[in-house]
């Protein structure tokens, strides 16, 4: 078959690098509902669950067992399980039903019941419910901080950058397991530079991660993975009982923790038991609650590509976050895995969460370049930072981040890198020279750094392990080497942790070490005009992106071309009689306060080209200043009516131009150059020629601009508005037109 041009282009689009699966319930490749999902049921004998979602107790797997023992509030179970799915779904969405009431009832639901409730909701209803159901009032954000070299200076510099941008949790991991202790120490130091109080974690194998935590080198953990089927759970080398010990072990040392689940993992492992992704994730969330975990990371973690490959996939991911919130747990809302090669799809995944708000909008925004992400590429990465900051501003939505000036960024990166350099020297871990520090400060990522000695990090990490260094060794070293503020911040963090307030649901420390959590900062959304609204200071942070410009800034370049021509009044404009005369109507600010058009030509050059075009066709230009209007159509019509030929040209300072005729309506011009930024000298000359042809009664020659792929509106309208404001200021309503003369200065 003949190749169609449209498909040739479509086939090259990034979205077509993504994989899309035909839904297949037998493989668990189905988002919201599988015919094999169990029907909700709960039978209780005394205070013992004897049947859960269609399964009798003697057939419980370890997940059922744990949920049945700990996960369901039996005092409300009868009431909750008897409610219609739609009633529960409406209660979750309805702003008039308090959050606490929804939480109370959902506490009595089984995994299958909650999955059915969620499956009834539209994405917008889910967002409404999220606004109400998330636990913490103030949204926050978490960053990935890793690099391919495990370079500790770079980890520290990037951690300091991350907290400068506003991240309140930073997470590292390793490409090489043996480097873990070094990464943890570097992250701990960097995360307290400039802005104190952020929590830090090093995600590695469960037992090793716990050991780092027990020594105070990390302050939270979240990669305590749980799964929705027993087979996958056990393949992951854990059971709910061992996870319960881990959960408590972290709490026993004042370490915040949450579990990680996230749909698609069971499908990837080939053990989904023919159930839907949503149902299996509902089991995970029920289990998380049963374990006593304060929160869950899900909704776009490792299995995200699987989920996004099936119909309703993105909706299912949003439902995962909402289920966590409805079970009154902290939602660390995924987005930490690149969902698509398409910028449109990956934005579509993140935007609903940003707008609705979550305890953490990302469970790992890649604060480093894509290639440096040792987890997987995040859905947003360091080169998306400006986009994210602009999205916050566009929607007035708080995603937890703020603009950082280059000066501040350089300063905290240098401080973090030198602090790690000093501590590693002081503790005899490694000796990085000053040149390395400067390279790290400037680097976008590890590809900007020489590789260095391949064993240097591993040896530093081995030394940390061999000597079993603790957070106190790091604090002492920072103090000894001249970093008392960072030493104090890390000690403060360690001390505050022992108070235990940060173990409660959805807790973060702000930069004053105040705990914001479900307890201290509860979500009070109850409809329009309630709930979280950024305060004035925060609002200013969201608004003040580095790219915004005042009108004065946008017109500053006008002054550079001031008086390159001299415009002088000749006489009040009179009606011309020469049939070869074409009047050029100049706008009020033209050559008075506007000197440079949007395409970068001076107003003088634009006029020279138009006049030359007229003259080449044998016509005579006359210049008329139209003072009473800034509308280019009326300017052109006024010029046409004064013109001997009846043809006039309207010209604004910013370069918009048209040809008009005296007998036409103001908006019915003959030819219009509306896209001023794309015009060239040749086009203005052609415009002059065509005006002359009209004057002579000849047919004009069409001027093709060739079209554009540029977003003219986005690129130029801020500047256009600033120039129009100058025109408006120069406008003199009621004043008649004046014939003027223009000379080169």
């Amino acid at each position: 078959m003949q190749e169609l041009g449209r498909f040739r282009v479509l086939d090259e689009k990034p979205v077509n690098l993504d994989g899309f699966s035909v839904a297949d319930a037998d493989l668990g490749l189905v988002a919201m509902h599988s015919p094999h999902d169990p029907s909700p049921s709960l039978v209780v004998d005394g205070d013992v669950v004897t049947e859960l979602d269609g399964k009798p107790a003697d057939a419980f797997d370890v997940i059922d067992e744990f949920i049945a023992r700990y996960g369901i509030d039996l005092t409300v179970a009868d009431e909750a399980m008897a409610l219609d799915d739609a009633v529960l779904a409406r209660m979750a969405v309805d702003v008039n039903v308090p959050r606490a009431e929804v939480v109370r009832l959902i506490g009595g639901t089984t995994p299958a019941k909650l999955a059915r409730v969620l499956a009834l909701m539209s994405p917008v209803e889910m967002q409404m419910a999220m606004a109400k159901m998330r636990a913490r009032r103030t949204p926050s954000n978490q960053a990935h901080v890793t690099n391919q070299l495990d370079d500790p200076l770079l980890i520290a510099a990037d951690a300091a950058a991350a907290v400068a941008y506003g991240f309140r949790e930073v997470e590292t991991t390793v490409p090489v397991l043996g480097d873990a202790a070094s990464n943890a120490v570097a992250l701990l130091i960097g995360s307290q530079v400039g802005t104190p109080g952020a929590l830090a974690q090093c995600s590695i194998e469960e037992a090793l991660e716990l050991r780092l935590g027990l020594r105070g080198l990390t302050s939270y953990a979240e990669t305590i993975s749980i799964y929705g089927t027993e087979q996958v759970f056990v393949d992951g080398d854990d059971t709910p009982f061992s996870k319960a010990v881990l959960t408590s072990a972290y709490a026993s040392r004042g370490l915040k923790m949450r579990v990680t689940s996230g749909g698609g993992a069971e499908v990837l492992m080939g053990a989904a038991e023919r159930c839907s992704i949503l149902y299996l994730e509902s089991r995970c969330v029920s289990l998380a609650r049963a374990l006593g975990s304060q929160g869950v990371q899900n909704g776009g973690v490792d299995g995200v590509g699987v989920v996004a490959s099936v119909p309703d996939g993105m909706k299912e991911l949003l439902a995962e976050n909402l289920m966590v919130m409805m079970r009154d747990l902290e939602s660390c809302a995924g987005n930490d895995n690149l969902i698509s090669e398409s910028d449109i799809r990956r934005s579509a995944h993140t935007l609903p969460v940003l707008l609705a708000g979550a305890d953490f909008v990302f469970s790992g925004f890649g604060s480093i370049p894509r290639y440096d992400n040792a987890f997987a590429l995040s859905n947003f990465n360091s080169d998306d930072m400006d986009d994210f900051l602009v999205l916050q501003r566009d929607w007035g939505a708080d995603g937890g981040l703020r603009t950082v000036s280059p000066q501040h960024l350089a300063s905290v990166r240098r401080r973090a890198a030198t602090a790690v350099q000093a501590v590693y020297r002081d503790l005899g871990l490694a000796d990085y020279d000053d040149e390395r520090v400067e390279q790290v400060v400037a680097a976008n990522g590890s590809r900007d750094l020489p590789a260095g000695h391949p064993k240097m990090v591993a040896e530093a990490a081995a030394s940390i392990e061999a000597r079993q260094l603790t957070v106190f060794d790091v604090v002492a070293s920072l103090h000894r080497t001249g970093y008392p503020e960072e030493a104090e911040s890390i000690m403060r963090l360690t001390r505050e942790r022992l108070g235990g307030d940060q173990l409660q649901t959805s807790a973060i420390f702000d930069d004053q070490f105040r705990v914001l959590s479900k307890i201290t900062d509860p979500n009070d959304y109850a409809g329009p005009g309630t709930g979280y609204v950024p305060g004035d200071v925060r609002r200013a942070e969201i608004d003040a992106i580095r790219q915004q410009r005042s009108t004065a800034e946008l017109t500053a370049d006008q002054a550079e071309h001031q008086n390159h021509i001299l415009v002088s009044d000749v006489e009040p404009a009179r009606q011309g009689s020469d049939p070869r005369e074409v009047c050029i109507g100049l706008s009020p600010a033209w050559g008075r306060s506007v000197w440079l058009s949007l395409c970068g030509l001076t107003v003088g050059e634009v006029l020279r080209q138009i006049s030359a075009g007229l003259e080449e066709e044998g016509c005579v230009p006359r210049l008329v200043r139209v003072r009473s209007t800034i509308d280019v159509g009326l300017i052109g019509l006024t010029a046409a009516r004064l013109s001997g030929s009846g043809i006039g040209i309207g010209l604004q300072g910013k370069g918009t131009a048209l040809i008009h005729r005296r007998d036409l309506a103001p908006l019915a011009n003959l030819e219009l150059f509306s896209v001023a930024p794309l015009l060239t000298p040749q086009m203005y000359r052609e415009l002059g020629k065509n005006a002359a042809r009209h004057a002579k009664g000849m047919a004009p020659v069409p001027i093709f601009t060739g079209g554009t792929d540029e977003s003219i509106s986005a690129r130029y309208h801020a500047r256009a508005v600033a120039l129009v404001a100058l025109e408006r200021r120069a406008c003199e309503p009621g004043e008649p037109p004046v014939t003027v003369e223009v000379r080169r200065a």
Binding site: A251, Q294, R480, G500
Partner: protein, 113 residues
């Protein structure tokens, strides 16, 4: 309670006066946080804090060993029973009960060593 936290100063770190035991939570603090969690409507989180209060009295290796023992196919039924008894004896009743429940479930689901 306060003195336990107040000892955590930079000066004491520099003087080498701080060690792993200083990183353990005070069981009384965890018990108090359990009350807060329970009052906040999350009895499971409260239960976790109470289990944690028991672990807070153990040294790091004992905590690690308890975790390892409960991973799949690590322990025999007899080993879990011995672990349960030892936990019971040292006053870690909740952890002991968790081990008992795990032993039952592991027997039924074939997850013992």
């Amino acid at each position: 309670m306060n003195t336990r936290r107040e000892i955590l100063t930079v000066a004491n770190a520099v003087d080498g006066k701080l060690g792993l035991t200083h990183l353990r939570m005070d069981p009384a603090v965890l018990a108090q946080q359990a009350v807060v969690a329970e009052d906040g409507g999350n009895p499971q989180l409260a239960e976790n804090f109470l289990r944690a209060a028991e672990l807070a009295t153990m040294d790091d290796e004992d905590v690690m060993n308890l975790y390892e023992a409960l991973r799949p196919h690590r322990s025999t039924g007899a080993e879990l029973e011995a672990l349960r008894v030892s936990l019971e004896r040292r006053g870690a009743a909740r952890c002991a009960e968790l081990v008992r429940q795990a032993a039952d479930a592991y027997t039924r689901r074939g997850l013992l060593r």
